[in-house]
Symmetry: C2
Subunit: 215 residues, 2 copies
């Protein structure tokens, strides 16, 4: 609705589109609503971006990059594996805190969009510069296996351990409405809850990895 004078029309559209797409999904989004939110006319959307699909793809690809965040720094650091995992979790949750609706959006679209859609993501990933998430993960997994042999990590399947780590970070952002309902939290309380998790998620992993080497 408002027109911040500092930002370009194109950028205002993108911001509005991100907000609406992320909340309602591709299918649930109306171009009119984006136009209203951007404070411009519907025709302008097609002037700057050819079609709804093209605008969506732009927003979605940027969202994907929010999902695989700047974790590289934490995961490539030269530190003991467990410290590294704790640091990653804190950094990841802090990152998600800034874009809390991205995970559900990405997962829903990855799920409801066809296999054709998934191919597009893989192609993007392959074309990426620098280290891809898959590469970073491959290296991390090798390090974790080594740590297991040396008794630094318990003999728990790596893929499941990693899944657990991501689950502890991401799940509260996916399940916000359900958690608010069941745990009786208003928006204010839920914000505080998410802040607490920055520490408590990695604390839980620490509990699981401590004193279990002997199992």
């Amino acid at each position: 609705m408002d027109k911040p004078t500092g930002s370009s029309t194109r950028e205002r559209i993108k911001e509005a589109a991100r907000r609406i797409f992320v909340q309602r999904g591709m299918a649930g989004t109306r171009m009119q609503e984006i136009a209203d939110a951007a404070g411009i006319n519907k025709a302008m959307l097609h002037y700057y971006f050819r079609s709804k699909e093209q605008l969506f793809e732009l927003i979605f690809m940027e969202a994907i990059q929010e999902m695989f965040p700047k974790i590289e720094k934490e995961l490539m650091a030269d530190r003991p594996i467990r410290e590294k995992l704790y640091a990653f979790m804190k950094a990841y949750i802090t990152q998600l805190r800034k874009h809390p609706y991205i995970p559900l959006f990405v997962l829903h679209e990855m799920n409801s969009g066809g296999p054709q859609f998934l191919e597009k993501i893989q192609k993007l990933e392959a074309a990426e510069h620098g280290r891809s998430p898959k590469q970073v993960l491959g290296r991390l997994f090798r390090e974790m296996r080594k740590a297991q042999k040396e008794g630094e990590l318990p003999p728990y399947p790596i893929r499941h351990l990693w899944t657990n780590i991501i689950a502890l970070c991401v799940f509260p952002f996916l399940a916000k409405p359900m958690l608010q309902l069941l745990l009786k939290m208003d928006n204010r309380a839920f914000d505080a809850f998410l802040d607490e998790r920055i520490e408590l998620a990695s604390t839980f992993l620490n509990m699981a990895l401590t004193n279990t080497k002997h199992q």
Copy 2:
């Protein structure tokens, strides 16, 4: 109660609708696609269910009940708290295994549907017979607090502990496409992965709750 021909068609429609709605969401679903999947005409959908919205609401409410599953039995049992939690996780994952797409569907609709939508859910919950999920959870939380005082559980915030438990169970079902991409699993491998989690999710909780009483 049963009209052989009538209820058969009605049931076929419901099955088709469930499949399509759950995959594409309310907004992404076309009545035509449901009709095709059910092998009948579009007009029949409106004959048996007044509107798309009404058909959706039926499917969604049944899905909600799949999300809050028959956990009551496990959680109300008279057993040590930790055993009870492990049994719950196994039962819950086994349950989710039968309806793997329900969680993402429910969470997406809870998120994209307005607050008006959430009220409807609360009303349904309140009108429920027997013990509601909230009641079961309230009782469980009291038991967990008591167990903490007695040193049976570590002094970790209950709401976060419960969130972690649900996260470990549900997350793989929410993130299937992402996990398949990152961990390079085809559908067959992912099925095996989910089967493994029936044990490994509760194993992880066990690791976290063991040898941490003294903290």
